[in-house]
């Protein structure tokens, strides 16, 4: 099994490490670098709990190899809050009861964060938010709070 030495930034923090070529980005983040907020729900790219931003784009970290993040900028759920202050999106998730067990939540947050960063100037309808949210799985909430939280954040950011 060959290994590679790579460097990357995670939430602004520089990291250099040596990884097996087959090691997933998710396992690398969780077990080599300690970013355990990225969760693995299926390891085959369906549930989206492991969604992180790779150079600004949402990816399933279970379907990306760690070596593919060489020289990349990775953003995980740990990078959303400003110190102890929750981000507006995180706060909206709490306000709208958009999480119960919280296992899928990091994936939904990163998915929505990427969408809002890219489309923040446009209005987001509930139907569009629902379509966005349909790319990830949640087993607890029935999705209603997640949709409401993302719509509310989009509305607040446009103001």
């Amino acid at each position: 099994m060959s290994t590679h030495t790579i460097s990357l930034r995670v939430n602004g923090q520089e990291h250099q490490l040596t990884v097996e070529d087959r090691r997933t980005l998710a396992d690398m983040l969780r077990h080599d670098l300690g970013y355990t907020g990225t969760h693995l729900g299926c390891e085959h790219g369906i549930c989206g709990a492991c969604t992180v931003l790779l150079d600004g784009q949402p990816v399933r970290a279970c379907l990306v190899f760690g070596v593919q993040a060489d020289r990349a900028e990775v953003r995980t759920v740990e990078g959303l809050a400003d110190g102890e202050q929750l981000s507006d999106l995180q706060q909206a998730f709490s306000d709208h009861h958009a999480l119960q067990c919280g296992f899928c939540t990091p994936g939904f947050l990163m998915l929505a964060e990427a969408y809002l960063a890219e489309n923040g100037t446009e209005a987001l309808t509930e139907e569009q938010a629902r379509e966005l949210v349909a790319s990830n799985l949640c087993r607890c909430t029935g999705y209603q709070g997640i949709v409401e939280a993302i719509v509310a954040t989009a509305r607040a950011r446009r103001k």
């Binding site: 355990t36 299926c42 919280g102 939540t105 087993r139 607890c140 909430t141």
Partner: protein, 780 residues
């Protein structure tokens, strides 16, 4: 000040939103080894040889164990024993030795220093199994019956013979399960003493699991500490004692190293308890006016290969709860628990009620058609009225007598139908479908909650004034930390944000009974309420000494005890904790230190919440797709500690119910190979399949059985989804009889649409025999 009933933000949220939750796989220990379970590739057969030599020699592998390495071949006992059933011959060994009985049954464990290496080595284990025929249909003749249960009373035979109308249907409920988003994970860390273990990953019933594990390992139970962790959803399946719950701790002790195991999704879908699969033949006898004279149900439960920790709890709950909220003069329910070569079954949210409610409520809609009655009117005619409650049924369930304790069933039905009309359900269902035919369906149900026998809580105030609650419940996503904090804060006159809840640590709370059966708020909350009241009395007693005041002149509010009329003379709870500290001059000789109390809340009877579900669906008769357009849950909860959380439980339950009614199904091929081992085949609903759910939350019938007046809320969101959606699809298609089978997959819906193709094509665009009936009953 009361914080009960307030929509407070959840205490759990900040850590979970920041990625600081601590789930199973987030725990690691220095020097930890990883385990990978080798599972049977065959549904049924004789194990001729397990060749582990190559796996043992693989790089990074420390050990490979099989059944031959076990100290004795332990089997996992039943947790919920039902009197009169002996399941000892059907229990699952932790590793199969001679015979395998389902695909996914554990055969061996590979242990190494890296999970990838373990997975590689597991594939090197040579498995030679002489296949035997697999039993895959529980209805085969003769069935392999593990247990047969009958519940009932009266003389149904005579009632059927004398009836004006007899209506019978068949309904099969599909095999599906809880499927929490976090797979199972377990870390066992040996300690300094022989047999000492720290366990991370057990939830739901940690004290029971600790005691069982201690017995299997032959060690004192207090040597084992199960730690409180975050769990990524429970739903009944997570936290039961599975083979891995013995194997991982046993390996940690045997190898003298921490051992961690994290299952993958494919393992989860074939190893964790399945549920639900039942075949109902249900019949009701009516008099000429539509009053129920008798009800019978003959059920076959496909239980899979073994009886697990739930024993026969699911089939027992099915037959015990089947009569629901109705006046049923004579009843007989029989269920045969049949073994097949599939994953064993256990409980899943609303066990037995999802299935039984579907059968009964679907029967009532078919009966309404046959009798020419409106489905709502038929139900109203047969619901137990307020004056008939409490209603004792001569049936026991889970070892308790069934006494439907409180409520007004007809009033809730009226309210629910009225709400559905106000929200436009009737118009929507009657309107032309965009991509198919629309229908409306409704179902009513009784839930159960607050199973005893007890829960224990410790409440203690620390020197900073923080209030600590140590509960035997566990945090599974339901918000138990928030709810118990609200209950403690209310009783103690404290700020709920100053309350810290520890749920599920077996050392911090060694007498806990766990979080299941919608019991955490009812039983666990009542224990916290009583313990917090005791701490309140203790605080007043101590304050009287410190302030040299009479206890009756003291008030406790806002975390402060003060002398009435003299606000300057006051002490915070933190002051009083210091006054109660060891060596405090305020303690009397021999008086124990601490501002704390332990209380045990006992219940002998469950409390029975109830509700109504209503759905509007659109059925595409071309593709067979069923879309749920609107969904309403009306639910009587007695008293909501935090209504936001109750609504969340109900909405989440509906989503799971829609999954089990339309999408989710564990199918097997003719050799017993599971066909749903990824999320591509096992279809959890996404936001695209789940409509916004309307909730009518009622607090009109406080439970008489506990000091808070609460009833459970964990399961009422899912109980009647199968029934309401099946009734709506039947309405949309204008079916004369039963839909026959859940889930209503596109192929089955197309077949149903085809079965009535003649009459439908000539009929109205939307609606069959009962279209428009359910909400036009005039009860609004």
């Amino acid at each position: 000040m009361t914080v009960i009933g307030a929509r407070l933000p959840r205490a759990e949220d900040p850590r979970l939103l920041r990625g600081r939750g601590r789930f199973g796989d987030d725990f690691s220990a220095p020097g930890q080894l990883w385990a990978r379970v080798v599972r049977s590739p065959a549904a049924h057969g004789e194990v001729r040889e397990l060749d582990v030599a190559a796996a043992r020699a693989a790089p990074g592998i420390v050990a490979v164990v099989t059944a031959d390495d076990l100290p004795r071949n332990p089997v996992i006992p039943v947790r919920l024993a039902i009197a009169g059933t002996d399941l000892s011959r059907f229990l699952q060994p932790v590793l199969a030795r001679d015979t395998v009985r389902y695909v996914g049954e554990p055969l061996a464990v590979v242990i190494g220093d890296d999970p990838y290496a373990c997975e590689d080595a597991a594939e090197l284990v040579g498995i030679d199994i002489a296949a035997r025929p697999a039993v895959l249909d529980a209805r085969q003749d003769p069935p392999r019956v593990a247990a047969e249960l009958t519940r009932g009373y009266g003389d149904p035979g005579a009632a059927f013979a004398a009836a004006a109308h007899v209506v019978e249907i068949e309904l099969a409920i599909g095999r599906h399960s809880g499927v929490p988003l976090e797979p199972r994970c377990l870390l066992a860390v040996p300690g300094r003493e022989p047999g000492e273990l720290a366990i991370f990953g057990m939830t739901k019933v940690p004290v029971w699991n600790r005691d069982l594990l201690a017995g299997l390992l032959g060690v004192d139970e207090t040597l084992i500490r199960v730690h409180a962790i975050d769990a990524g959803g429970g739903f009944g399946v997570r936290g039961e004692f599975y083979p891995e719950d013995f194997l991982i701790p046993w390996l940690a002790i045997r190898l003298g190293s921490p051992v961690k195991w994290a299952e993958d999704r494919a393992e989860h879908l074939m190893a964790v308890n399945h549920s639900r699969q039942q075949y109902h033949r249900i019949a009701a006898a009516f008099d000429a006016s539509g009053r129920i004279l008798a009800l019978t149900d003959d059920i076959i439960q496909d239980n899979g290969a073994y009886c697990r920790t739930h024993g026969v709890a699911v089939p027992e709950l099915t037959v015990a709860m089947l009569p629901g909220p109705y006046r049923v003069p004579a009843y007989r329910g029989r269920v045969r628990v049949v073994l097949t070569n599939k994953t064993p079954c256990g409980t899943y949210r609303a066990p037995g009620r999802f299935e039984g409610t579907a059968a009964r409520e679907h029967l009532l809609d078919v009966a309404a058609t046959r009798l020419g009655l409106d489905p709502v009117a038929l139900r109203e005619r047969n619901l137990l009225t307020r004056s008939e409650l409490p209603h004792e049924r001569p049936i026991s369930t889970l070892g308790t007598d069934m006494i439907l304790d409180t409520g007004d069933y007809p009033a809730l039905l009226v309210a629910a139908v009225g709400q559905a009309v106000r929200l436009g359900y009737r118009d929507l269902a009657a309107g032309p479908g965009r991509r198919g035919r629309r229908g409306f369906g409704l179902a009513m149900f009784v839930e159960k909650s607050g199973l005893g026998p007890q829960e224990t809580a410790d409440v203690t105030v620390s020197r900073s004034g923080a209030v600590h609650v140590y509960s035997g419940g566990t945090s599974l996503g339901q918000g138990i930390e928030t709810v118990l904090a609200q209950i403690a804060a209310d009783a103690l006159g404290a700020d709920p944000r100053a309350v810290r809840v520890t749920a599920g640590d077996t050392t911090a709370q060694p007498f806990g009974a766990g979080s299941w059966a919608s019991r955490s708020t009812v039983v666990g909350g009542s224990a916290v309420h009583q313990a917090a009241l005791a701490v309140r009395r203790r605080a007043i007693e101590l304050a009287a000494r410190v302030l040299e005041a009479a206890e009756e002149d003291l008030d406790l509010a806002g975390g402060t005890v003060s002398v009435r009329g003299d606000p300057a003379a006051s002490l915070t709870l933190g002051d009083l904790a210091r006054a109660a500290a060891p060596a405090s001059g305020y303690l009397r000789d021999g008086e124990p230190a601490g501002l704390s109390a332990r209380r045990r809340f006992e219940v002998s009877h469950m409390t029975y919440p109830y509700g109504v579900h209503a759905a509007v669906v659109e059925v595409d008769t071309g593709t067979g797709r069923v879309r749920v357009l609107r969904y309403l849950v009306a639910y009587e909860v007695g008293r909501a500690i935090n209504p936001m959380l109750v609504e969340g439980q109900l909405r989440g339950g509906v989503a799971q119910g829609i999954g089990g009614t339309l999408l989710e199904e564990f199918r097997y091929d003719e050799d017993g190979q599971p066909q749903a081992v990824t999320f591509i085949e096992y279809r959890l609903p996404t936001a695209a399949e789940i409509p916004p759910v309307d909730v009518l939350l009622c607090q009109d019938a406080p439970s008489p059985g506990n000091p808070l007046g609460v009833m459970g809320a964990g399961e009422g969101g899912i109980s009647a989804v199968g029934a309401a959606v099946a009734n709506a699809v039947r309405d949309a298609l204008g079916l004369p009889g039963s839909v026959g089978q859940l889930p209503l997959t596109p192929a089955r819906v197309c077949a149903l649409a085809g079965s009535i193709a003649g009459p439908v094509s000539g009929g109205p665009v939307s609606g069959g025999p009962v279209s428009g009936g359910p909400v036009s009953g005039g009860t609004a």
